[in-house]
């Protein structure tokens, strides 16, 4: 490149910052243009500006906040119930050998059933009420949290546990100060994995049967050929997923501040 030696370094830095955005912005511009001149039917793909407009109107009439709140509420309840149960089972089986003998192989068998495959059963049991969605999400998040809690507790350094006993820790203190903190990285990993499953389950459940929530919003919009709303729903799901992931990363950084690899992550993040 002939101009390399003479290029302004500040200009180059700005160019490097902008470069990753070049392609998405171009695609958006071409998309907008194609929709505007009528190459792209609004039934196939609405213009980005239409989606922005749909966002704005549904925000103002309160329907978007309502559906988001309903979906987030289901997600939270399912996570609380399924995650709590998974944690309790993982803790129990990790701590007590007899509990493991009794329960683990059953849980491993149930784990192999894809939880979305039981949707017809769930609809038979609960109809299309709230319980159906919360039940499905609970089942979905239970197993990753169960497995990672169990594994985390089992793989705590035996030497540290022995040290705890030699230095006078009772059972409760041993769990609070040695075993649970040792299992925490694994538990948080399970949580992150569970969050992905949580949104996925919710999307499927709400799309199949619901009378509120983002999935309902998109399916309803589909019937009236409102593709802008459908796309808006998809984008909202993506943002919610990203938000949950960011929240767990933040939690990991706070809870695992003792870990040297997180020290560097913290420093480079600030």
């Amino acid at each position: 490149m002939a101009s390399r030696g003479t290029a302004n370094p500040a200009l180059r830095r700005v160019a490097e910052r902008l470069a990753p955005w070049l392609l998405p912005l171009t695609v958006l511009a071409v998309w907008e243009l194609a929709a505007g001149v009528g190459w792209l039917s609004a039934r196939v793909l609405p213009a980005p500006s239409d989606i922005a407009l749909a966002f704005w109107t549904t925000l103002l009439d309160g329907s978007l906040p309502h559906h988001v709140a309903v979906s987030a509420g289901r997600a939270a309840q399912g996570l609380l119930i399924g995650g709590g149960l998974g944690f309790a089972l993982g803790f129990l089986n990790g701590a007590l050998k007899p509990a493991e003998t009794l329960l683990d192989s059953t849980l491993q068998m149930l784990r192999n059933v894809p939880h979305l495959a039981i949707i017809p059963m769930v609809i038979l049991w609960f109809g299309i009420g709230e319980e159906a969605k919360i039940f499905l999400v609970s089942i979905g998040v239970l197993f990753p949290i169960y497995l990672n809690t169990f594994h985390g507790i089992r793989s705590v350094d035996r030497g540290l546990v022995e040290m705890g006993r030699v230095y006078g820790l009772g059972t409760a203190a041993l769990y609070a100060r040695v075993i649970l903190p040792g299992a925490l990285p694994s538990i948080l990993l399970g949580l992150r994995y569970a969050l992905g499953i949580m949104w996925l389950t919710l999307i499927v459940a709400e799309t199949i049967s619901a009378s509120s929530g983002i999935g309902y919003m998109t399916m309803n919009a589909r019937e009236f050929l409102q593709t802008d709303l459908v796309l808006l729903g998809i984008i909202v799901y993506a943002l919610l997923g990203k938000l949950a992931d960011t929240a767990t990363r933040w939690l990991e950084r706070r809870a695992l501040a003792w870990n040297p690899s997180f020290h560097t992550a913290l420093e480079s993040a600030t």
Partner: protein, 268 residues
């Protein structure tokens, strides 16, 4: 016991050392750390088997309160097993272990074990590790113990940022905080470099003299044993192959120390 050791017992240099009369003077100004009540240890025909394989084969020992004993022996000779019996982590297959004239029935706060690796909790800061058992005033006691091992001001660091020698110092502080009467050290300096080892030897001797606890140090290093202990045991094939009183370190001539080392090496 060998004739040589018996002859040594009669020499004036092996007379057991009386403890300093004034506890206050011995604590070196650290008001929080009390002097320990040193505990005597007796092993009576102790046998330990794992799945029928005999690791300790009838150990008889009398260790007076406050003595510093080094145990040397080959790898796999049962040294760590012996420590686990004394500290109460494990029970002997036969025979009795008596600490302070009472049979060991479990863990007790005045008998402490330093492991080969520091075994610090990475998710607790240094002070939190030292004061692991908590209880009233634990933080002050932990900071005083850290001060004692030369780590003043490091209480709020994470263990991950410390050097190997510093981590072992934290482990020592953790053992000191409960004011032990008997401290067991299972090769605590094995993983350290030569210079750091030297430093730790000085530290251990000073702290031992200040606190007055009895100590049993396992080591592979015969020179280390002679440099630190008043008495050296050689453990071989599950038995005590040599029991040698060598007197206070620093009070014996160099030539004698070298003589002890060759004698011990011959038995290991």
């Amino acid at each position: 016991m060998s004739a040589f050791a018996q002859a040594l017992r009669r020499l004036p240099l092996t007379v057991s050392r009386p403890f300093p009369a004034s506890p206050a003077a011995a604590t070196g100004g650290h008001a929080v750390i009390e002097r320990a009540r040193p505990l005597p240890l007796v092993l009576d025909g102790v046998v330990k088997e794992f799945a029928g394989r005999r690791v300790l084969d009838g150990i008889d020992l009398r260790i007076p309160a406050g003595q510093f004993v080094a145990v040397v022996g080959r790898s796999g000779g049962g040294k760590s097993t012996l420590m686990r019996l004394i500290v109460g982590l494990d029970r002997p297959t036969a025979g009795r272990v008596l600490v302070d004239s009472r049979p060991v029935s479990g863990l007790r706060p005045d008998v402490r074990l330093l492991f080969q690796d520091p075994r610090l909790l990475p998710w607790q800061r240094v002070a939190g590790n030292v004061g692991i058992a908590r209880g009233p005033g634990w933080r002050e006691r932990a900071l005083a113990a850290l001060d004692d091992v030369g780590l003043a001001g490091r209480g709020d660091d994470w263990p991950a940022v410390l050097s190997g020698g510093q981590r072992q110092r934290v482990a020592l502080a953790r053992a000191l905080v409960s004011n032990p009467g008997l401290l067991l050290l299972d090769e605590p300096f094995g993983a350290l470099d030569a210079l750091t080892r030297q430093e730790m030897h000085g530290l251990l001797r000073r702290i031992r003299d200040e606190h007055g606890f009895g100590a049993i140090l396992i080591t592979h290093d015969v020179a280390e044993a002679v440099a630190l202990a008043d008495r050296v045991l050689v453990l071989r094939e599950g038995r005590v192959a040599l029991d040698l009183d060598i007197g206070r370190p620093g009070e014996r001539p160099d030539a004698l120390a070298a003589d002890f080392e060759t004698r011990i090496l011959k038995e290991v």
